[in-house]
Symmetry: C2
Subunit: 340 residues, 2 copies
């Protein structure tokens, strides 16, 4: 059964506005458990934070992850015609084949981390409109992509890792982030898959032109998403939102997934409380985006690949957090003298 | 057969001075391999760096880790009598029991990461001298601890993770780092396992007094180690040095292990080329120490536990690097169009 049905902008706003929250009882029990374990208080740092966060969302003092699922959404972008990427649009479908054949980075990483991997193609032969000219998607197209994201969550999934593939989508993400948070195009636009200085200048100009054309300060969050987002960005919004309705914690990957999810905070500032960012992308705009969301990515390894690669590496950190929270002895059990 | 024998300061200097280097042929082949894999050039960031680093030290284009070994050295410190820790000295032996019983953080983390775990007790009932009064160790004691570290490396180990346990040892590490790199005690002394402001001020005073007493600017690297280091710090030096003679890559944990290994760069600036730092400790002095060594820790998760916990979490990042380097398809294999 679908988690929800989105067929209009109103549906979207309603679904983002009314959300289940964290289980504070389980959260507080996990805090107490951490204080009893054989280590100086707080000395596991963010591993403690992760265990407590999971406890709250799973509603269990001692949470666990038994079915982590990695979803990679792929879409094509009309704006790619503006020469904003170092790679041609055909590469989106070629990389999807590579995912299916197990040859991409994410295949190796998902296997290592024990995550189920699924790639979801979103009408690759139907690129979105070039958003320098017209909104990328109609309301119906945007809703269909949000729905596709929600529907992609496998049954019994208890942890979600979200990623994307789409030539041109750092341009889409930069425009979307600028539409939501303001600033200058040069603060949001990065080199993507490897633009040179000329390409980068062109990409800045393309984003500036699109923002001037659409005047996003007059647009709703949903309108920003359909205007600047690609189908894979809308699907990431849908998956993040559906996960929240099921209290499934979500690990975002990097710049593009964060820009997509950020749409939700324009509607409800608490809507990403079940979300962590896996990796601080080397892509220029991600640092600011993470700050705007008040989220500190778990890792900073100079990665800028997408494909959920940063999210899945971060899953291993979450597993480390759970292993310590689940398995450590307490001061009493181990007969270790507590703090003076 | 022991990797080497150290019975004097001269032995130590000779062993640190004459070291095998990286296999540049394997290193360069790994660089070429990375460029052929289906991803934008450089987009796996430090995962690429790690794979290439391992290739160079293992002398193989496609390196692998089959027997990662985590060694935790435990020692007791005379300086603990100065009231520099939030925990009493008995906790060192209590935590060693906890390690042996599988109840500590490192037990859970080593199991998760698939690392063999070994704890090495270094005469816990014989604390070092209080270094505010006399050198912590004699030349012979320091050599014996270095030797113990070297001898602890298991046969067939192909990756080493080094950690420590010892009430009072952040004080020892701070004094050692200050002895080697200069600066003020307040720049090197942190809260350790959780000192309050009064305890912290006392710890700063203790380190200042010890440095004034011993005048380390007149001491050799070995003399600094025996004067301010504990047995577990000397053992970490020994294990790091022996690993280098066997071309085994080493992952250091945090502040204390880094301070210990830093002794080697005073003798030979290239002596830590086979070493990475796993985690940027929340302990005050680690950031500066990492900068002095020109090494960027892989992780920054606010951890400050020791026990090799940061090193073993970082091992999972290394495994991610190897999985991608080993398993990804090339552009040719996957029929993906390369960069424009």
């Amino acid at each position: 059964m679908p988690i929800f049905a989105v067929t209009s902008a109103q549906d979207f706003v309603r679904l983002v506005s009314d959300l289940p929250g964290v289980d504070m009882l389980a959260h507080d029990k996990a805090v107490s458990r951490q204080a009893s374990l054989t280590k100086p208080a707080g000395s596991l740092g963010r591993l403690e934070e992760l265990a407590i966060w999971l406890a709250g969302w799973q509603g269990k003092e001692v949470p666990s992850i038994t079915k982590p699922c990695c979803l990679v959404f792929a879409g094509n972008h009309g704006v790619a015609a503006q020469g904003v990427s170092a790679f041609p649009s055909e590469v989106t479908a070629q990389m999807v084949s590579n995912f299916k054949n197990g040859g991409a980075a994410i295949n190796q990483l998902a296997r290592l981390a024990g995550a189920e991997f699924k790639v979801i193609e979103l009408e690759l032969d139907q690129p979105t409109e070039d958003f320098t000219i017209a909104p990328a998607m109609s309301e119906a197209e945007c809703c269909a992509a949000i729905q596709a994201g929600a529907d992609a969550i496998p049954d019994q999934a208890d942890f979600l890792l979200l990623g994307e593939m789409g030539i041109g989508n750092t341009t889409s993400a930069a425009a979307l982030a600028m539409a939501i948070f303001g600033g200058k195009a040069s603060e949001w636009v990065g080199a993507g898959t490897g633009l040179d200085a000329t390409g980068l200048a062109r990409k800045v100009e393309v984003v500036s032109r699109a923002i001037n054309h659409h005047q996003p300060e007059k647009l709703s969050a949903f309108e920003c998403l359909r205007t600047f987002g690609g189908r894979e960005l809308a699907a990431i919004v849908g998956a993040t939102l559906a996960a929240r309705h099921c209290r499934i914690p979500v690990m975002l990957d990097g710049f593009i997934t964060t820009a997509a999810a950020a749409v939700m905070v324009r509607v409800n500032p608490f809507s990403l409380d079940h979300v962590m960012i896996g990796h601080m992308s080397a892509e220029l705009g991600h640092k600011r985006l993470a700050m705007e969301l008040n989220k500190r990515p778990l890792l900073d390894l100079d990665m800028r690949l997408g494909e959920a690669s940063g999210a899945v590496v971060a899953l291993m950190i979450v597993q480390a957090a759970l292993a310590t929270h689940q398995g450590m002895a307490t001061f009493d059990q181990a007969k270790v003298s507590p703090h003076d």
